[in-house]
């Protein structure tokens, strides 16, 4: 890759939720902004823009990461998954999303997309997490509505249903 000039736009390509996506961006463009503004994937929310709040968390190459702390040019060639990619099909929720709905694990919903993307991965690596492990993991996200109790309950419930073999809501 040649040196990309700061004042020009450059083509970047990556997969988003299994589909090839392309955008033309300045090197300084944040991945969070490119997802929302150029690819119209507004499910990813932007809160603090310095990595603290966790609202913009997506999965990059399978692991949760802050899209506001990643440049779109850094993500060139990466495999990206956003909250839009969680539901198995239109009108049907994933096991985790459904547990969030049943447990009222969201109120305003601003933090929810990031938390879902984190927990989606966490529950794949930790099929039977303790409440303490979950709370430690959720430390990377701020929620100002729920007090976290219903989020933890939803995650524990989703983990149980996934262990029982559920594949969707």
């Amino acid at each position: 890759m040649p040196r990309l000039e700061g004042h020009a736009r450059h083509r970047v390509r990556f997969t988003v939720n299994g589909h090839m996506a392309e955008a033309h961006v300045e090197p300084r463009a944040l991945l969070s902004d490119v997802l929302r503004q150029q690819l119209a994937l507004t499910g990813t929310h932007v809160g603090c823009e310095h990595g603290v709040c966790g609202a913009c968390t997506i999965q990059i190459d399978g692991v949760p990461a802050r899209s506001c702390l990643t440049l779109a040019v850094q993500a060139d060639g990466a495999d990206i998954r956003t909250v839009e990619g969680l539901a198995p099909q239109s009108g049907q929720l994933s096991v985790l999303q459904d547990a969030f709905r049943r447990h009222h694990a969201l109120q305003c919903g601003f933090c929810t997309a990031g938390i879902l993307m984190s927990l989606d991965r966490f529950l794949k690596d930790n099929a039977d997490p303790s409440e303490e492990e979950l709370r430690d993991y959720l430390g990377g996200h701020l929620c100002r509505c729920t007090g976290y109790v219903p989020i933890v309950a939803a995650a524990l419930d989703a983990a149980k249903r996934l262990r029982e073999g559920a594949t969707h809501a």
Binding site: M1, P2, R3, L4, E5, G6, H7, E26, P27, R28, L30, D33, E49, H50, G51, G54, T57, I60, V63, P64, A65, R66, C68, L69, T70, L71, V73, Q74, D76, S118, F122, D136, Y137, G139, G140, H141
Partner: protein, 275 residues
């Protein structure tokens, strides 16, 4: 909060990265995981002309070890070091300290060497390097050099790295038989910056205690085989020598008290963990 404009170069070779650093010095910044640099760019605390991305250089993505030490390349992510096999045996201090670095969602991207480069006074990786007597490997177009951690960290977010130098790796000595290792940290919430972080290494001749979050860089002191009030006095002296300051998060007095109490608890745990 958006970064100012900069050029971006995905380095295709180490030589290419060295060339840019040699040509542009302080106007160039290395980006690896970006977990500390990106906020500084967004807040415009850093305004480089060019970012050099080193994450696609396979020679920097390696964790290697020999009988004495673990060498972590510049593109190794914190989560990768934490997940490396038998870390709890090869270096229990690292295994205990790394889960305190940021959050799982930032350790997935942030690099070990990036944290050393940033040199935040409360960061766990610089503290571990100081406690263990680690080494930083620097390289420029012209030469390579290794520097001891105690000479590398020179102050608040400042290091002995020259503008044309790239951190290629950091080296952590492995655990030795007869030694015990412990780490404790106090922050407002897990994942926040440490108000005080403590790392201790115990041997039959005494205990070394390193403190982060108080002075302008992590500082270590070796204590002889002290106990009881003699140890209290020695810790009190250390706490005052760290020259704590009041800030938004805690008073200097509170930090000194944490050094005395959490420091002592960490030393005691390291002694108990001796193998």
């Amino acid at each position: 909060m958006k970064p100012a404009r900069f050029d971006y170069l995905r380095a295709g070779s180490l030589a290419e990265a060295h060339e840019v650093l040699a040509a542009e010095g302080n106007d160039a910044r290395i980006v690896a995981g970006g977990q500390t640099l990106m906020p500084m760019l967004s807040m415009r605390l850093a305004r480089p002309k060019v970012l050099v991305d080193i994450m696609h250089l396979p020679e920097l993505r390696k964790i290697t070890d020999d009988a004495q030490a673990i060498r972590v390349g510049a593109a190794v992510r914190q989560a990768e070091l934490l997940a490396s096999p038998q870390l709890a045996e090869t270096q229990p201090l690292l295994a205990a300290a790394l889960p305190w670095v940021g959050h799982a969602q930032t350790r997935s991207r942030g690099t070990v060497c990036g944290s050393a480069a940033h040199a935040d006074p409360s960061a766990e990786i610089p503290l571990s390097l100081i406690a263990l007597g680690g080494t930083i490997e620097l390289a420029s177009r012209r030469k390579k050099r290794s520097i001891k951690a105690e000479d590398f960290f020179t102050g608040m977010m400042s290091t002995a790295r020259a503008p044309e130098e790239l951190i290629e790796a950091v080296i952590f000595p492995k655990a030795q038989r007869g030694y015990g290792y412990a780490f404790k940290e106090f922050g407002r919430r897990h994942g926040d910056f440490a108000i005080v972080a403590c790392a201790a290494i115990a041997s039959d001749t005494g205990t070394r205690l390193a403190i982060g979050g108080v002075a302008d860089r992590p500082m270590a002191r070796d204590f002889g085989p002290l106990d009881g009030s003699a140890l209290d006095d020695a810790l009190d002296e250390f706490a005052f020598d760290l020259d704590a300051r009041d800030d938004l998060h805690a008073t200097a007095r509170y930090r000194r008290e944490l050094v005395r109490r959490l420091g002592r608890a960490t030393m005691e745990e390291a002694r108990r963990c001796r193998v």
